[in-house]
Amino acid sequence: MRDVCVIGTGMIPFGKYPDKTLAEIGWPAVKEAIVESGVPHNEIDAVYCGSALGGMLSGQRVMKALGLTGMPIINVENACSSSSSALAQAWTAVASGQHDIVLVVGVEKLTKFGGGTLPLEKEDWEVNQGMVMPALYAMRAQRYMYEYGLTARQLGEVSVKAHDHGALNPNAQIRKRVTIDEVMASRPVADPFTLWHCCPTGDGAAALVIASGDIARKHKSDPVRIAASEVTSGLYTNGYRDMTWAELTARGAKGAYDMAGIGPDDVDVAEIHDAFTIAELMYYEAFGFCERGHAYDLLSSGATSLGGDICVNPSGGLLSRGHPVGATGAAQAVEIVRQLEGRAGAHQVKDATVGIAHATGGGIAGLDHGVCSIHIFVR
């Protein structure tokens, strides 16, 4: 396998763009990534587009706006991991030698659904019985609170941290700090979650140009390398399951660490899938940033805040930057690359050289989650 590096990044500020088409949301991110890469347009060998709910031919709709067509354009649907799965496919294509320069784009327009919880697949028997994503995570939270004595107020501090970070990020959907009292007093969604425990719905797009190491180094002196690219799916059971342990993410993390030849102590910055407050805490444990049951201690120590040893979600994460489902994985990757290149601006993590992007999700009965995709970046 060949080295694979990132040579261009682009993203639009996440938010609500009900009057724009999916293509209008997507092309500015693609244009920015290509211009930043310096790659001539006709040298892009393939496009992988991640979108969960964008509909047929999302990638072609975006690319034709820029007049870039003719190459293979592959559309990838994998719920919350759509564009991170697209990145994994792109990585494989470059690492294997099939392609030299590949564009990855994640694009989503959730405002077309008019708000509310994410529309899920009604063929799923749990969805048919009233399951919604906040309820699934809320049940994890309730059980975690039961087993480890975490309080709802402690859980709410995840949201306070996320918004402290997001307030510094011009690409964040919610650029507003919240206090723990505001978190607790906002309207209930699914107990113990109030509104501020939940990521907002919205629209967004992000893109990356990746290339083989030798080509990348012709365009950049010290490009960020993708040291691990991992996609896994949840394990099916209709029996009992420990909902306080993110088995899927833990399995993916081990695979990614092994591939990169690093461990949790080496990580400087991570963008992890905090769709709801409990998720961030559970993933601290799954990534080995702390022992099981000790995630709140890690949060309250400040270690995962800007200035801490292992900054988690400096962008504001899903809770603050936003979560236009299929665009999230690419946005996380863009964030980590810019962090490692030292150009993240007001929310820069100092001297970061190793970063993780983690997108997991997809509510599906019998599985922890549908999918988990993890990338490790090194500079």
């Binding site: 509310g116 919880t117 529309p119 028997w125 749990e126 048919n128 019985q129 009233g130 399951m131 919604v132 906040p134 309820a135 809320a138 049940m139 994890r140 939270a141 309730q142 059980r143 039961y146 309207r187 209930p188 969604v189 699914a190 107990d191 113990p192 979650f193 099916y236 209709n238 029996g239 009992y240 399951r241 909902m243 009965a365």
Partner: protein
């Protein structure tokens, strides 16, 4: 009383007269008690809920419809305040661990302040929402035992 694991005589005609969210998941047994209908593989005895068409343990397609346990333990729950149209919000959802080691997502017919993890639950039938015409929709529910 009908033992859990007992074969369901005619699972396809179980709920002809009532409006159920998922009529294939619940039926009344010969004694008139609500029961969840699961599947049991004839080849390897693995239980499924909902009743599987193909056994995820051994690929057999010979899956009997069987009654599942009527009681279980509440693994976790949440009171849902925001949901798609049709559901009567707020409603309590929970995972109930049945004695036969199947975990079932269910509406919980228990006041919010009485819900507690590890409480013993018993199967029932209740109204959980309404269809497009406003007619009540039924489903299996769990109440405190």
């Amino acid at each position: 009383m009908t033992e859990s694991g007992t074969l369901v005589a005619n699972p396809d005609a179980a709920n002809a007269d009532e409006r159920f969210v998922a009529p294939d998941l619940v039926a009344r047994d010969p004694a008139g008690k609500p029961r969840l209908i699961g599947g049991r593989c004839r080849a390897c005895a693995q239980l499924s809920f909902p009743r599987a068409a193909v056994c995820p343990g051994c690929f057999s397609e010979d899956i009997d419809a069987v009654y599942l346990a009527e009681e279980g333990t509440l693994y976790s729950y949440s009171v849902v305040h925001q949901a798609p149209k049709g559901w009567a919000v707020p409603y309590a959802l929970g995972y109930v661990d049945l004695a036969d080691e199947v975990r079932v997502l269910a509406h919980l017919d228990v006041p919010a302040d009485k819900l507690a993890i590890a409480m013993t639950m018993r199967l029932g039938i209740g109204v959980v929402g309404a269809d497009a015409s406003g007619a009540p929709l039924l489903s299996y529910t769990f109440t405190s035992a």
